[in-house]
C-alpha cells in the first residue's frame, strides 16, 4: 500500500511538471482564437458578401472536421508541402506545439465566432438605437454600448468553450508533445500501471477546469449588474469613479 502511494506521488509530480505545457497551449490558442473570432464576427456582419462568405466557409470547414485531423494535416501534411518544408516557415511548422496552437486557433475561433455572432444578434436593438440617437457612431458605439452587452451575453457559452479547449489540448500528445496526457502515456510505457497514471492525469485536468470555471463564473458575477444592490441613500458628496 505504501509503495502504491509513493508511486502515485511520484507520477503526480511528473505530471504536474507537464502542466505548464498544457497551459501554454491553452493560453496561446485561447488568446489567438478569441482575437481571430472577433475578426470573423466583424466579417459576418460586413456589408459586402465576400467577408461574409469567408466567415461562413471558415466555420463550415473547421467545425465540420475533427480537430485531431486538422492537427495532423498541419503537422504531417504541411511538412510535405515543398515551399513550407524549404521555406522560413519550416522552423515553426516542425514544432508540434506550434502546430497544435495553430490548429486549435483555427478550429476554436470558428466556434467562438459563432458564440459572438449569436450574442451580437441578441444585443437589444433599442440599446443600440439609444446610442445612435444621442450621436454615437462606429467605434464609440461598439465600445460603450454594444460590447458591454455582447460580452455579458456571450460569457457563459464562452466559458464553456474554454473548458472544451482545455480538453482539446490533450490532442497535442498525439503529435509527440509532452503535455499532461503525453507525459502520462510516457510514464505508462515505462511502468505499465495504466489505471493510476490516467486517473492522476484526469484529476489534474479536472483541477484545471474547476479553477478556470471558478474564475470565469466570478467574472460573470462581477459583470452582472443585476446582482448589484440598489443603494437608496442620497448622493454622497464624493462620487465613485465612473468608468
Amino acid at each position: 500500500m505504501g509503495e502504491h502511494l509513493t508511486f502515485i506521488g511520484s507520477v503526480t509530480a511528473q505530471l504536474v511538471r507537464a502542466v505548464p505545457v498544457t497551459l501554454l497551449i491553452l493560453a496561446v490558442s485561447g488568446v489567438c482564437a478569441t482575437v481571430l473570432a472577433t475578426g470573423l464576427t466583424a466579417m459576418s456582419v460586413a456589408r459586402s458578401p465576400l467577408p461574409r462568405l469567408v466567415q461562413r466557409t471558415w466555420t463550415f470547414l473547421f467545425r465540420g472536421t475533427p480537430l485531431i485531423l486538422q492537427i495532423f494535416m498541419i503537422y504531417y501534411g504541411f511538412a510535405m508541402v515543398p515551399w513550407i518544408r524549404h521555406g522560413i516557415l519550416w522552423a515553426a511548422f516542425r514544432d508540434p506545439v506550434f502546430c497544435t496552437c495553430l490548429a486549435m486557433t483555427c478550429c476554436c475561433s470558428a466556434y467562438i465566432a459563432e458564440i459572438f455572432r449569436g450574442a451580437l444578434a441578441a444585443v437589444p436593438r433599442g440599446e443600440i438605437e439609444a446610442g445612435r440617437a444621442c450621436g454615437m457612431t462606429g467605434f464609440m458605439l461598439l465600445r460603450r454600448v454594444i460590447a458591454p452587452s455582447l460580452i455579458r451575453i456571450a460569457l457563459p457559452s464562452y466559458s464553456n468553450e474554454i473548458i472544451m479547449m482545455t480538453k482539446s489540448t490533450s490532442l497535442a500528445s498525439t503529435i509527440t508533445v509532452l503535455d499532461i496526457t503525453g507525459v502520462a502515456q510516457q510514464v505508462i510505457a515505462h511502468s505499465y500501471r495504466t489505471l493510476e497514471v490516467f486517473c492522476a492525469a484526469a484529476a489534474l485536468y479536472l483541477l484545471i477546469n474547476a479553477t478556470l470555471s471558478t474564475l470565469l463564473t466570478a467574472l460573470e458575477r462581477r459583470l452582472d449588474v443585476d446582482r448589484a444592490p440598489t443603494p437608496l441613500a442620497p448622493i454622497p458628496p464624493t462620487l465613485e469613479p465612473l468608468s
Binding site: 485531423l69 490533450s170 489505471l195
Partner: protein
Amino acid sequence: MMDDLAILGFGPDGWAPLLLKGCLLTLAVSAASMAIGTVLGILLAWARLKGPRWLRRAALVYGVILRGVPELLVILLLYFGLPSLILSLSETFGWEAPGLPPPFLIGSVSVGLVSAAYQAEIFRGGVGAIPRGQFEAARAMGFSDLMCFHRIVLPQVARVVLPALGNVWQFNLKDSALIAVTGLSELMRTSLVAAGSTRHPFLFFGVAMALYLVLTTLSSTAFHYGGRYSNRWDRG
C-alpha cells in the same frame, strides 16, 4: 496528378474502398456511442431529477468528471486501463487472463460515456422546459405515469431536445476520430495509414476532411428536417 488519382481510386493500389469502409465504421461507431449515450443519458437525467439523494449526487459527479476530462484520456483509460484492471483482478482470483478488448466496443463505449454526460444535461433541461401545468393536466385526466411520459413529455421534449442532440451527434462524429488511437480502422485511422504508406499526407488528410464534411453536413441536414418534423405543431 495521375498517381494521385490512382491511389485515390478503386484500382489495386487505390485507397477508395478502405476509405469508404472507414467512413462506414466511423458512422457505426458514432451511432453506437450515440445510442449508448442516449440510454445512459436518460437514466442519468432521471437520476438527477427523481433519484434518491445519493444517486443524484453520483449522477452529478459523473457529469462533472466526464465533461471535465479530455475525451482522449477517457478512451486511453478504457483501452489500456481496463485490461490492466481485469488482468490484476484475474491474477487475484486466478481467472484466465483475457487479451486486449475489441477496439470497436471500447471506442463506442468510451465516446458513449462522454456523450451520456452531455445528453443527460440536455434531457434534464428539456424536461425542465415543459410547463408544470402540462403534467397536472395529464394527471387530472387520469393519464398513467408511463402514458404521460409517452404522450405528453416525449413529443414536447423531442422538440426542445432534438437540435441539441444534433449538436451532440456532431461531437460524437468528431470524437470518434480519437478512437484511431486504439487502432480501429475508422476514417481517421485509415487516412493516417494511407498517408504514411503512400507518403501523401496532404492528399489523404484532405480527402478525410472532405469525407468528414460530407458526414457532418448530411447528418446536420437530417437533424434539421427531423427538428422541423418534431416541431410541426408549433408553427402557425
